[in-house]
């Protein structure tokens, strides 16, 4: 742990300068985010189409999601985005300790998010609200939960979307947490500073994208009418 290292970094041989490497890497990350958008986008497009075809299914399906959980998770992720941005900020102004705290907070937020997801999932499993063909809704429990509702025949479709979308998003959260852990360790070792913080920035961009996706998922899954 030598602070003398901070801010200095040997750029790879095929770049002219550290700045050159920084700009190139960042563009690479943006391109990667572009592929992520298109991948999640495929799901969003499918959602738009099936929502158009079976509005009832989605209306009824969303009754099974709890806005309180969804909203809490939204706030948690937004806060984690803030701390992530601050992590980079503190690297930029060479406040290594604060940077580590910010990153650690971000990871904690990730855990909270996944914890709430766990509660939601296990509740759904309990009611038998499984995707597609596996749907095995327990009529009594469901009635206790949402009152007497006519359940559309293909309600499983809603849960297909629910689990596919939140599942793939959840995997991204986990990957993001691992990546933040990695840059946090490197920050602790003093590898980053105003002169070099490319990995923190890249991981940060990824984490914000995960947040972005959730910003759309929240109204789509919890607030459909």
């Amino acid at each position: 742990m030598s602070t003398a290292k901070s801010g200095s970094h040997h750029h790879a041989h095929h770049y002219d300068s550290a700045e050159h490497e920084y700009q190139s890497s960042k563009e690479g990350v943006w391109l990667f985010l572009c592929t992520e958008i298109l991948m999640f986008g495929g799901l969003f497009v499918a959602y738009a189409i099936f929502h158009h075809l079976y509005p009832e299914t989605f209306k009824v399906g969303s009754k099974f999601t709890d806005v309180r959980y969804g909203a809490t998770n939204t706030v948690v992720l937004l806060f984690s985005s803030l701390t992530m941005a601050l992590g980079i900020y503190y690297c930029q102004i060479k406040e290594q300790k604060k940077a580590v705290i910010a990153l650690a907070t971000t990871i904690v937020c990730g855990f909270i998010f996944m914890g709430i997801k766990y509660l939601e999932y296990s509740h759904k499993f309990h009611l038998g609200l499984l995707p597609g063909d596996w749907y095995a809704g327990n009529a009594e429990l469901i009635a206790a939960e949402v009152g007497n509702l006519t359940i559309p025949q293909n309600i499983g479709l809603y849960f297909s979307f629910y689990f596919m979308m939140t599942g793939i998003h959840g995997i991204h959260v986990l990957i993001g947490m691992a990546l933040i852990g990695w840059v946090m360790v490197r920050t602790m070792k003093g590898e980053f500073g105003p002169g070099y913080y490319t990995p923190v920035e890249g991981v940060g961009l990824f984490w914000h994208l995960v947040d972005l996706v959730w910003i759309y998922l929240f109204p789509l899954l919890y607030l459909v009418s």
Partner: protein
């Protein structure tokens, strides 16, 4: 190129724009505010505009995250183009698929 003075790096590079702490906090406040609005708006029935309202607010939030948290406001043009392109081609996928589906219903000619 190990520098003892912090903050300086290789010649030919520009100093990265550092967004002040206050901006981050303001943006965070705005995001939370918009989240509250989203939840409240969902309780009001705007008829056909429900989805538009929800999506509109989400897009404002997304815009804030992109511009400030992700520094796109101070970034070079190329990275904005990249994100714009991805959204554009997503719309292409959506547009032509839905075009088929909404014009398909009639078994007779749809023309």
């Amino acid at each position: 190129m190990a520098n003892t003075t912090s903050g300086s790096h290789d010649h030919g590079s520009h100093d990265h724009h550092i967004i002040p702490l206050k901006t981050y906090l303001t943006v965070f406040g705005a995001l939370i505010f918009l989240t509250v609005i989203t939840v409240l708006a969902a309780k009001v029935d705007f008829g056909a505009f429900n989805a538009v309202v929800a999506f509109g607010i989400a897009s404002v939030k997304a815009g804030l995250v992109l511009a400030i948290f992700m520094h796109l406001k101070y970034d070079n043009m190329m990275n904005r183009v990249i994100i714009g392109t991805s959204v554009f081609f997503l719309l292409v996928l959506w547009f032509f698929s839905i075009l088929d589906i909404v014009t398909r219903i009639g078994q007779e000619s749809t023309l």
